[in-house]
């Protein structure tokens, strides 16, 4: 953080970045590509089933490679409820096929498929690493600043007194390597997402002319703490220390019930003092008026 970005009296406590393994869900997509690329290479060239590929049409290896890739994409998408994974693998498959066809490497699929898959996974790893490195979290004595994004730079600033509660989570990898994610939820509800589920069904009764059709369905929504990685303290290390620091900062900036009582009491005291001052003022004024009146009557008498 630059000096000119700091507010008056602001002091930076910690500057953090996500742990290298904190984006494992993205890295695992590349990891699968590496493993599948190597296995596909072995399967086509060296395994006992290699004849199946060499003796048949050129598209056999491509078909097996693509089917496994897309199947993995469907399974991963269903498990994470994120269809982007399927489309990503579809893109990898389509890109590979297009490249093979355009370059005329149809007979070299045994060499092309593993090299292409491993190369794409390396690019994937590099992209995830660049994305991770784009994140920066600055914890100061007044606020938390979240920064992130490779092309579009995003920033969020959150004052401690605006934090209503803190959500913290640690995956198994996080527990092993000591990192975790802290999501501060603001008064406006920033940091909250929702999980939606829906169930539906249809019934058709009767034959030929008479048909009854019924439809039933239902849905529910559960609010859950969720934010983009550049809007939360994503995969920060050391997790426990950072969590404690943030909680202490929030505690220090948010007024406690005891402090509220103290403030109310002080306010009461001030009000009483004000009333007393007014009374004294009134008293002294009436005294002065009386004296003036007495002086006036004395002058008249003389």
């Amino acid at each position: 953080m630059n000096e000119d970005e700091l507010l008056k009296g602001e002091k930076v406590e910690k500057i953090l970045s996500p742990h290298p393994l904190s984006f494992m869900k993205y890295q695992s997509l590349s990891l699968f590509l590496i493993i599948w690329g190597i296995v596909a290479g072995w399967l086509i060239n060296f395994s006992e089933w290699s004849n199946l590929f060499s003796d048949n049409e050129w598209w056999y290896p491509l078909l097996v490679w693509g089917l496994v890739l897309l199947l993995a994409g469907v399974i991963a998408s269903l498990l994470t409820v994120r269809w982007s994974i399927f489309f990503l693998y579809l893109g990898v498959f389509a890109g590979g096929t297009a490249l093979m066809l355009s370059a005329g490497w149809l007979d070299a699929s045994g060499l092309f498929i593993p090299f292409y898959t491993v190369s794409i996974s390396i690019i994937g790893f590099l992209f995830v690493e660049a994305y991770r490195r784009s994140h920066k979290y600055i914890i100061s004595n007044q606020r938390i600043t979240f920064k992130g994004g490779i092309v579009t730079k995003r920033e969020r600033t959150l004052r401690y007194d605006k934090i209503t509660d803190i959500n913290a989570k640690q995956s198994i990898i996080g527990q092993i390597f000591g990192f975790g994610t802290i999501t501060p939820i603001s008064q406006s509800g920033f940091g909250l997402g929702s999980d939606k589920s829906f169930a539906g069904g249809g019934v058709q009764l009767g034959e030929k002319k008479l048909k009854l059709f019924g439809l039933f369905g239902g849905g529910k929504e559960v609010q859950t703490p969720r934010a983009r990685s550049y809007y939360e303290l994503h995969g920060v290390y050391p997790y426990k220390e950072i969590k404690k620091l943030v909680e202490e900062m929030v505690q220090g900036n948010v007024i406690t019930p005891y402090q509220q009582e103290q403030v109310a009491f002080q306010k009461e005291q001030v009000d009483i003092q004000k009333q007393m001052r007014d009374l004294l003022k009134m008293q002294s004024e009436s005294k002065m008026d009386q004296e003036e009146q007495e002086e006036g009557s004395e002058e008249q008498e003389s």
Binding site: I35, I38, V39, W42, F46, I172, Q175, I176, F177, G178
Partner: protein
């Protein structure tokens, strides 16, 4: 040769049980060595130790849950972290059900990971899964000697197949390589106790044995019941002239052999980590890099000079070159293996440099 009735009725069923117990005890001793090595590298490799702890706790918790499932107690709560695992039953069942679920908790971690490996091995190994009855022991097979020999012969057949698979393992074959990785990982977590941040005296082999001992002695009746069931099973096998009884224990013996080999491999990896920790700086990466490089070079070499033992020799080259590189680095980069004369010479040399 005529078998004595006492031998057949009383001693013969004990033979395979004793065999399994012996192997299990060997397993316990190797686990102890693993725990010692883990505690030695803990300071420098905290995440690695947490990972092995997690594996151990995972198996323990899964075994406990399995115990509750088998006893139809149900599972109401399942929690697992890197240093703690908890399973709570839906219905609190007492008596034999509680005893069985506890038996799963204490004994399961020794055998369940090995069972996973055995299933994998079934698809990878070409032979070794036969329960063998030595032909010369046909008349003796329901005596103590006969049972233990049949048990030993079955184990010998399996061990032969298993070791020839391991010696000829093809590390360029994804399934073989995956199996080796799985074996090392499971070997790291094949222990029922947790390696904590601080050294805990009670977490050792005796603590594990004490747990099991309490389980047995607390309800001796259940143990007697278990033995009675084993004896009944033996008599049924004897009556039907089948090899079922010894086959059951032979499978447990196979599991023990797999566990022991996994643990030995895990120990070797831990020893390598502990040894390379003594090598300063980035040099410590070299022994690890030597492993894949030497293996690939050997395989490429043997591709052009074909021999009958390509895979076995390649594995041997991998092991020897890793040992050689580690030894060389230890000698050159640390004070290990330096004689008094070497140290004196070094001191003289450094003194001379200072004077200059």
């Amino acid at each position: 040769m005529e078998a004595s009735p006492i031998d057949v009725v009383i001693f013969a069923p004990l033979a395979p049980i004793l065999g399994v117990l012996l192997f299990w005890f060997i397993q316990l001793v190797i686990i102890e060595s693993e725990k010692y090595l883990l505690s030695k590298i803990r300071l420098k490799h905290e995440p690695f130790c947490r990972f092995t702890n997690f594996l151990g706790i995972l198996f323990q918790t899964v075994c406990h849950a399995l115990g509750f499932t088998v006893t139809k107690s149900g599972i109401s709560d399942f929690y697992i972290s890197v240093d703690y695992g908890r399973v709570a039953p839906k219905k609190e069942k007492k008596g034999i059900f509680e005893w069985i679920s506890n038996a799963f908790l204490f004994i399961g971690p020794f055998f369940i990971p090995a069972l996973l490996l055995l299933i994998c091995l079934y698809f990878l190994m070409s032979s070794g899964f036969e329960i063998v009855t030595p032909s010369q022991l046909v008349e003796l097979k329901y005596t103590f000697g006969g049972q233990i020999t049949t048990f030993g012969a079955s184990l010998h057949t399996f061990a032969n197949g298993f070791f020839s698979f391991l010696i000829n393992i093809d590390l360029l074959h994804p399934a073989h390589f995956g199996f080796l990785l799985l074996m090392i990982f499971l070997g790291m977590g094949m222990r029922p106790s947790y390696i904590g941040k601080e050294k805990q005296e009670k977490v050792d082999m005796f603590y594990d044995l004490k747990n099991i001992g309490t389980l047995i002695l607390h309800k001796p009746l259940y143990l007697i019941l278990l033995f009675a069931m084993a004896y009944i099973f033996f008599y049924i096998s004897f009556w039907l002239q089948q090899i079922w009884y010894v086959a059951l224990f032979a499978i447990l013996g196979w599991l023990s052999i797999i566990s022991i080999v996994s643990l030995v491999l895990a120990n070797m990896i831990l020893l390598l980590i502990k040894t390379t920790d003594e090598i300063p700086g980035k040099w410590k990466v070299f022994p690890y890099a030597t492993m894949p490089i030497s293996y690939v070079i050997a395989r490429v070499l043997f591709f052009y000079i074909p021999t009958d033992f390509t895979k076995a020799v390649s594995v041997l080259i991998l092991i020897l070159s890793t040992i050689a590189v580690t030894y060389f680095l230890l000698k050159r980069k640390s004070n290990r293996f330096k004689t008094e004369r070497d140290i004196k010479m070094l001191k003289k040399k450094s003194k001379g440099e200072k004077d200059e």
